[in-house]
């Protein structure tokens, strides 16, 4: 019975999210982003390691559909040629008009693994010759395609927060639940620990923890440990709020009834008390996803998070740290724009969910 009600309320939440035009846009953006990173290998013309050392910091490829003679044509592009300009001491990129390359759709290219396990080599688009270079959003210092790396980077930036949530929320729930339920000295001692974690400015703690990771880890080990660190920072504040709620819930009569039957305290906490905090937990989860995304990108931006050659939006934005670099190559700012769009969408949805579950709140 209870389950059915929950399902219905979940469905009505979704219904209301789709009705509002702001949250509908936000949901559409997020669905697009997550679909693109799911099919990153298919959409990206290159792998994340592919690099053309002769074309570092090449500007975005220009795609033409009208020939110089003024006729309509199948989309094509030219390669860039890098020349050194002795007057400005800069590298100039000029289109090499001697050879044109046509775009091909659904053609074979580099191998990749769809969803991480299905071997595949069909790409959404590529050029008709392997000599052609199609850099939709330019390249980075190593001549790697930014567009492809943004897709692969999104796989890390947009998922690491969720994984960290799945670690920190159960811990926070259980910790807050036990502390609030047992009360007294145990509660006191348990809360001192959360206070201690919270009294170190979180970013200081984050970078100190990230810095002690050994340098010679594989990228998946690093990913896991960064996730754990993010989760470690996040659970304390959450568990304090849960504890506060548990303190008031445990005074209700049905909890006494459960005690009288002789139910185990852990069972009472998990089965009878914590479900009562569900609406707060849902709101807290949706509102804390962006925080995790920002924490990961900040960490990677400083060079302490995800390391090269892996991509994440934070470590791609690292190249924009030198402003001289950005002024000539504005496409390096795109990862920052994507972080912003993703965070904004999550915030809008989080606010809307809070308004639905807590109609009294007037923040929006």
């Amino acid at each position: 019975m209870k389950k059915r009600i929950n399902e219905r309320s979940l469905r009505s939440i979704f219904h209301r999210l789709l009705k509002d035009k702001y949250t509908f846009t936000a949901l559409t953006i997020l669905v697009t982003l997550y679909l693109s990173i799911t099919f990153a290998g298919f959409i990206a013309p290159y792998s994340k390691e592919f690099s053309d050392r002769h074309l570092s910091y090449a500007p975005p490829s220009k795609i033409f559909t009208i020939t110089p003679e003024g006729k309509l044509s199948w989309p094509y592009t030219y390669n860039y040629k890098r020349t050194f300009n002795p007057d400005t001491f800069k590298m100039d990129f000029k289109l090499d008009r001697s050879q044109l390359y046509y775009l091909k759709f659904f053609s074979k290219g580099d191998d990749y693994k769809l969803f991480g396990f299905i071997p595949c080599n069909i790409h959404l688009f590529s050029l008709d010759s392997p000599k052609g270079r199609l850099f939709l959003l330019g390249t980075d210092i190593n001549g790697r395609d930014n567009f492809s790396r943004l897709l692969y980077g999104g796989q890390i930036s947009l998922t690491i927060g969720f994984i960290a949530l799945f670690i920190s929320f159960p811990i926070g729930l259980l910790y807050g639940g036990i502390s609030g339920y047992l009360g007294g000295r145990v509660d006191n001692a348990m809360m001192r620990l959360t206070e201690a974690i919270m009294s170190i400015p979180s970013f200081y703690l984050l970078i100190s923890l990230a810095a002690i990771l050994p340098a010679n880890m594989t990228s998946s080990q690093r990913f896991t440990l960064i996730t754990v660190i993010l989760a470690f920072i996040g659970w304390a504040g959450f568990s304090r709020v849960v504890r506060g709620m548990v303190l008031s819930i445990k005074k209700q009569e049905y909890v006494d009834a459960a005690k009288a039957i002789g139910a185990h305290p852990l069972r009472i906490i998990a089965k009878h008390i914590l479900p009562q905090t569900a609406s707060y937990v849902i709101v807290a989860i949706t509102l804390s996803v962006p925080g995790y995304i920002l924490a990961e990108s900040g960490l990677s931006f400083l060079g302490l998070g995800i390391q090269q050659p892996d991509a994440s939006w934070g470590n791609m934005l690292k190249e924009a740290q030198e402003y001289i670099n950005v002024i000539n190559r504005p496409w390096l700012l795109i990862p920052g724009g994507l972080i912003f769009v993703a965070v904004l969408s999550f915030n809008l949805i989080g606010d809307a969910v809070r308004d639905i579950l807590d109609p009294k709140s007037k923040l929006n």
């Binding site: 201690a196 400015p201 970013f203 700012l333 920052g336 923040l363």
Partner: protein, 322 residues
């Protein structure tokens, strides 16, 4: 409870907290696979005697818990060791803390000065076009990553030439008179303060708006209206004051968020603050400095929260300090 007694009580409560924090940071540092003296050994400016003294002070050949007590006793005596640059950790901290306090306090000031009127304004025009626009703007302000915003502003500074590019003082700072010095620092502060204020401004504006909307529905406001008080008096004399009170507790949280947020902003703007110091220390694995900065961050945070609570007591006499 009178305020001095309360302060004393809070300070006493903070001591076990700081001990836990210090144990935690000590454990974190001990987990690090790096030799804490490696960097010191590489620095030719540090004499073998200093190195030996440092080894003795850290007690590296003792068991871990003894090392912790050794660190604790020397820290309590005010000796935080030396940094890899050869300077005393304490001098480096003291250089940076005022700068960070300057940055965070000017950000808090600016945030409150702007957020209050905007929040009140939005609440009084609830659901109007301008309220909607402000809500969208505050969503944008909350979503933009501080380091990204800082980068954008830095590029703006370079392109327009209106603002200095990073740092806290100009090259010829020493030759300026006091008035020019203040102007110079203020000029350097504009962009970092703008970055730090943007995020908290958006949040605070929403809170003010939400609180005021709640208060405007309270019975005493209806009563005041029924009595025929002019609307202005109802809002500014009765509603706004009560709407702001709960915000004062947020000052503590804001301070915490600012300390954290400042690290990235300081990094992008090359601002000589505590956040950038700990970042550099972390990157160079300057163990003494990391440890001391973590502790210093915690102390500042606890003090900030204490100040917020006392301030709340001062503005709202209904609050009892128990």
């Amino acid at each position: 409870m009178s305020i001095p007694v309360y302060i004393l009580k809070r300070i006493l409560q903070a001591i076990p907290l700081l001990i836990i924090v210090s144990i935690m940071s000590f454990v974190i540092i001990k987990l690090s696979p790096v030799d804490p003296l490696a960097e010191l050994k590489l620095n030719p400016a540090i004499s073998p005697q200093t190195l030996e003294a440092e080894k003795e002070r850290l007690g590296l050949n003792l068991p871990v818990y003894m090392q912790y007590f050794k660190w604790l006793t020397s820290a309590l005596q005010g000796d935080l060791g030396i940094s890899t640059s050869g300077e005393k950790v304490i001098t480096r901290l003291m250089e940076r803390i005022p700068n960070t306090l300057l940055l965070t306090s000017s950000s808090i000031l600016l945030t409150w000065l702007i957020a209050l009127p905007i929040g009140i304004f939005a609440a009084l025009r609830w659901r109007s076009a301008i309220d909607r626009i402000l809500t969208v703007l505050s969503s944008i302000g909350m979503a933009i990553p501080s380091f990204f915003f800082a980068l954008l502003l830095l590029i703006f500074a370079v392109k327009s030439g209106w603002f200095p590019i990073g740092g806290l003082t100009s090259v010829n700072f020493d030759k300026m008179n006091i008035f020019q010095k203040i102007l110079d620092v203020a000029h350097h502060l504009v962009l970092p303060v703008l970055v730090l204020s943007t995020a908290s401004l958006a949040g605070l504006q929403r809170q003010v708006r939400g609180n005021l909307l709640d208060v405007l529905e309270a019975d005493y406001v209806k009563m005041a209206r029924a009595k025929g008080l002019p609307e202005n008096k109802i809002i500014y004399k009765h509603a706004v004051r009560n709407a702001i009170n709960p915000m004062v507790t947020m000052l503590g949280f804001e301070f915490a968020a600012l300390l954290s947020g400042a690290a990235l902003t300081e990094f992008v703007f090359q601002y000589p603050g505590l956040g950038r110091l700990i970042l550099e220390a972390v990157m160079k694995l300057d163990i003494n400095l990391v440890m001391a900065s973590l502790m210093m961050g915690a102390i500042m945070l606890i003090l900030g929260n204490l100040l917020a609570d006392i301030l709340l007591k001062l503005v709202d006499p209904r609050i009892s300090l128990n």
